[in-house]
Every structure is written in structure tokens, then in C-alpha cells.
């Protein structure tokens, strides 16, 4: 039994049970299939990350985001007067994470494509767009770029879902998606 040495000293020569051969074959093929699905999705699926990223100094990134916000701000919102920024469709758009806010608020058009840049000014943050449920890890010193196309209009929350200190649960941003 399992607590004692195998009774057959040449246990590796024992033939396999048919059930074992069958199950190992099925499990192996299923593994190959699941591997193939990830590759297939890169070719035919619509939800893939570009993995495009650049090394960036947080201060430099902050200046870029501020310049971007200044250019396209349409109004401000909330107690802290966060700018709501409406960039043209197809353009590069910017958001930064810092203790404890996502900045600025973006207003996008439905069914238009944008190149979203994300980075952190301090610690790691989690960009969690809800309720559509897109989750990305945002690191300091890395500027990541994701091309996205909102397919629903409405108000979307950007929750921080990487623990970032005592104010973590107050870190919230927003993306509006409007019909044209």
C-alpha cells in the first residue's frame, strides 16, 4: 500500500489499467485544447492585452496627464473638483493612479476606440472598471497602453483593487461613456 514500499519491486513495468490510459489521454488532450484556446483568442478573440508598456518617470507621466487634462477638460465634478476630460475619439487618453484617486475622470464616446495610458505615481494600484469588470494592474514607473472600445453607454466606476494603504477603499475614479 501507499505506506510501504511497492510490493512489486519492478513497479514501473506494470501495465496500465485501461481506465488510466483513457483518463490520462483525455486529460492531456483537454490541456492541449485549453492551451489552444488562449492562442486562438489572440487571433480571433476581441479581448486581449497589447502588453505595450514604457518605462516612465512618475513625475514626467504626471505632467503628461496634466497637460492632457488641461487640453480637453469640459467640466469638474465632486467635492475635490476633479476635471472631466473629453478627448477626441481615436486619440491617446491618460489616467493616473495615486493615493487615493484615479485622475482625471474620462468621458468617452460609445463604439469609438481609444488608446488608454495608465501608470501610478506612487505604489501599485488596481484599475478595476465596473460593472464591465476589466481589471489591470498598474505599476509605478511603467506606463501601460491598452486600446479599448466602450460598447455600452453609461457611468462606469474605476475601483482600486490593489491594496494601497489606509485610504485604499476611498480610491475611486470614473469613466462616462456617452452616445454620440
Amino acid at each position: 500500500m501507499a505506506l510501504t514500499p511497492p510490493e512489486n519491486p519492478h513497479w514501473w513495468r506494470e501495465p496500465l489499467h485501461r481506465m488510466e490510459i483513457g483518463w490520462i489521454t483525455i486529460a492531456f488532450l483537454w490541456g492541449l485544447f485549453m492551451f489552444g484556446v488562449m492562442v486562438y483568442w489572440h487571433i480571433n478573440g476581441e479581448q486581449n492585452l497589447s502588453n505595450e508598456a514604457y518605462r516612465v518617470n512618475p513625475d514626467v507621466y504626471g505632467e503628461k496627464v496634466e497637460a492632457f487634462a488641461e487640453k480637453y477638460t469640459v467640466r469638474t465634478e465632486g467635492k475635490t473638483e476633479i476635471p472631466v476630460v473629453k478627448p477626441p475619439p481615436g486619440s491617446d487618453i491618460y489616467m493616473l493612479g495615486r493615493l487615493w484617486e484615479w485622475w482625471p475622470i474620462l468621458e468617452l464616446q460609445k463604439d469609438q476606440t481609444y488608446r488608454l495610458h495608465l501608470s501610478s505615481m506612487d505604489w501599485q494600484h488596481g484599475f478595476s472598471l465596473q460593472p464591465t469588470n476589466i481589471n489591470l494592474q498598474v505599476h509605478p514607473k511603467y506606463e501601460m497602453v491598452v486600446t479599448l472600445k466602450p460598447t455600452k453607454s453609461g457611468e462606469f466606476g474605476v475601483v482600486c483593487n490593489e491594496f494601497c494603504g489606509i485610504g485604499h477603499h476611498t480610491m475611486l475614479g470614473k469613466i462616462y461613456v456617452v452616445d454620440k
Binding site: 501507499a2 505506506l3 481506465m19 502588453n51 475622470i105 482600486c160
Partner: protein, 565 residues
Amino acid sequence: MIAKEKFRVCPDTGFKVFDTTEKLIKINAVVAVVFLAVGGLFGLLVALTRWPAVHLLPADLFYLVLTAHGADVLLFWIVFFEVAVLYFAGSVLLNVRLAAPRWAWAAFILMLVGAVMANVAVLQGESSVMLTSYVPMRAATHFYLGLILFAVGALVAMFVFFGTLVIAKEEKTYEGSVPLVTFGAIVAAIIAVYTIASGAIILIPTLLWSLDLVADIDSVMYKLVWWGMGHSSQQINMATQVSIWYCIAAMVLGAKPLSEKVSRGAFLLYIVFLQLASAHHLLVEPGISSEWKVFNTSYALYLAVLGSMIHGMSIPGAVECAQRRRGFNEGMFGWLRKAPWGNPAFSGMALSVVLFGILGGITGVVLGAEQLNIIMHNTLYVPGHFHGTVVAGTTLAFMAITYLVVPLIFRREIIWPKVAQWQPYLFGLGVTGISLFMMGAGTLGVSRRHWDMAFTDAPLNFDVPPAAFLMMGLNGISAVIASIGGIMFILVIVGTILFGKKRGEDACRTNPVILPGGGATVMAAGSEGTLKLPGTIALVSVFFAAFVLYYFVNWKYLSEVWPLS
């Protein structure tokens, strides 16, 4: 002096149990249970805080307690217990004295000092960084130091185990190959060595960084190497718990593996492929290529998953085979109905196998698919998954074997057998709820490690779907149920060790804890010409159907998300 090592012959099993081995198994197991009690209490506080109607702790304490919960149960409870299992699988099963007992004691003291130091650091409040302590967030220096001391201690224990194997081989205390359970323990120990090495590679520079001796630690590189420890250490659990499954099946039912070759081959797949799983934590990270992500996240071609799926067949197969040989041959599931469901070692093992496979295994594969991770990363789906693996799988398996360790090693009769009988079911039910409801809330987008899903203090507002609040309430109730199961376990085990009746020499006949005659009743199972095992085929088919269905459902979810490229 070495030749004079004292031992007793176990009246139940006939194994030689050396004094030093026995003491070290006891002390490591007892300390493990203490950390389970402490860490479990912290877990209950976490769940009660995340239960919106209760919202027990203030934010700072919540994050503190969550950090302590992770360290105490995921690291300290599990690794102390694993060391006890290794000494058992090495020294007891091979009938040999433990190598270098002084080093084994040094290992124990290092681990204990490290674990206490890390707890002190967290409880002082300056190290609420979560177990993962992602840079550039910084903890107190003695938090990192505690973890490093603990890891070094564990490493020393691994080498004591390896040394024990060498002595057994040299002194020829066993014939042929090592038993399967020992083989699984060897696999766990090998994985542990490179796991602990990864931990040292990342925690030592982080310690220096916390003292300002290192200027900067790259945050993506940190995650890559940290998870070389963090995820691989779950594979130590995996190998240990599978060994325990085989061990319990052998002790309680006299089951032997269907095929030594298949079971050992499956273990070997773990050694070769498991460490790639660090990638599971980097799937939505910037600047890593998809080729790298796809290859690593799938353990090459899902070859480690293949290992687990093989064990998922061979464990029920071994049980069915043993039961049929004992005469429980009625219909497809007569063997299952007549299994010893009132024996907490068996029921705990059976629940561990099923819950691990379904709640932990299937969801882990889904979570680890590169693109599917986009809709799950850092949501409550993640802790939902790993409470399925580490609590329903590992912790339940460890509890189950404790019901055998206490009578056999501590030589005490279990007090309150009725409580013990119900304990695995209650704990299993609670953990099932915890796992399912957290995954449900995660699917609705609720974040993990988050104090307030209502965002009361946030400058903006955001409404989480009401169903998610319900899920978190149900999660709280499940946590209470699991805690009751946990408390029952602690009371029975601690009560038995302190006040249980001494187990006499003839108890192996009057009150057997392992099947009389052991493996002798079930000779010659395995390989071709064995019995037909229709029950196992049916169970495995149901599992596989659930796996395939759930896998595709999640791709359907993903396809409805905003296009990303």
C-alpha cells in the same frame, strides 16, 4: 551513541517510532494548530468586517488583521504542519531515526522565532502590507526578517528530511523503492527548496531596501520572484495533501494506489512544471509578452494540471478498488455508500478531494487562462478560488490526518468522538460557502482586500450591484459556520492531547484507527486485471463535464466585455 537512539514499535502499525522523531512531530504539529487557531480567528474577523451589515472592524484594523490572517494560516499553520508530515513520511514510514535531530530543533526554533517576529511586526501596526508586501509599499524591517528566519528554518527542516532519506537508504531500513506517501513528501520537499530559494532571492533585497541599503526594487520583478515563492509554495501544499490523501486511504481502507507508476509519474509532473505558476499573478501586468504569459500560466501545456487530474482519478479509484475487495460490491456506488463516512479522517479526506478538485482546481484553471484573468484579477474571485484550494483542500486534509496522528503518535483516544465525526462536514460546508460566495461577489466585480464596498468615504460614488452585498452577507455566515467547524477541531484535538485517555497496547484490536491487517487484505490491486471501477469512471466523468462547461461559460462572459487590444 547514534546506535542507542530509542524507539518504540507502534502497536497499531508496526512502524518504528523514534523518540526524537515523535517529539519533533508533536511539537511541530502543536505549533501548527496554534497558528491555525490564531489565523482562523483573524479570518473570521475579516469575514465579519466584509459582511456589510456587520462591518465589524475599523479600516486600519481590518487591513492589519487581513495581513496577519494571510501570514498565520497560509504560511505558518501550513508549513509547520508540513514539517511534521515530512518527519512522519521520512522517519516513521522508513523505520529510521531522524537525521541530525539538533538541526531539526534549530529549524523549529528558527521557524518559531520568525513566525512570532512577523506577527509582532504586523500587530504593531506598521506592517499592514498584506502577505504579498508588494513594493514600493514598505513594511517594518522585522516583518521581512521574520519571514526570512521562518523560511531559513523551513529549509533546514527540508535538509533534515533529505538526510533522513540518505540514512534509511544506507542502513537499508526499507526494501526496493520508498513508499508512495514518502515519494510525495520528497516531491513536496524538493519543491520547497526552490520555493524557499525564490523567497530568499526577493525578501533579502527587500529587507535591505527597507533599511535604505538598496535604492530601488522593480515592482514587476518583485512580483515575478515573490510569486516564485508564493505560488510554488501552494504546490508544496498540493504535493503534501495528495500524499495525505493516499496515506488516509491506505490507513483507513487499506487502499493501495491503482498503479504506482501513474501516481508517481503524476507527482513528477509537479516537480517539473509547477514553478511556472508565478505567471498566474502577472497576467494583467504591463510589459510582459503574451507568449511568455500563455506558456507559463498553462504550466507549459497544462502538464501540472494533468498531474492533479491523474490524482483526481487514482484516489477515488484506489478507494473503490479497496472497498470492492472488502466485499462492498453492490452496484455502481455501493462501495461509496458503505464507506466509513462517520470516520472524520475518511470524510475529511473525501471532502478535501472533491472540494479541492471542483472549487479549487477548476476555478484555478479558469482564473489562470491569460485572457480570462482580465475579468477576475484582484476581485474576490481570487480569494474564492484559493480558499477552495488551501482551506477546503489542504487544511481539511491536514485536519483529517490529525485524527489519525493523535491516536497513533500522541497515543491518546479522541475525546468527544461525536464532535469529531461532525467536524469535517461543518467545516467543509462553511468553506464551500466562503469559496462560492466570494467567487460570486468577484464575478460581480467586488474587489479583494477592500474595507468598504459601499465607498462611503470616497469623494465620488459608485454603486455595487445589490446581489454582491447579499453574497458578502452569505460569505459572512459561511465564515461563521467554518469557524465553528474550526473551533470544534481545535477543542477536540487540544482536549485529546491534554486530557484524552491513554491509548493502550491492545487498542489496535479493541478500537482500531487503521484497518486491521492493513494492506494485506487488498493485495494485488492495480495494473491490468484489476476490478472494473465503474463508480470512479462515473465520478471522473461528472467532474470533467463540470470542468468543460464552466470553462466555456467564462469565455462567454469574457466575449461580452469591451473589446481590448
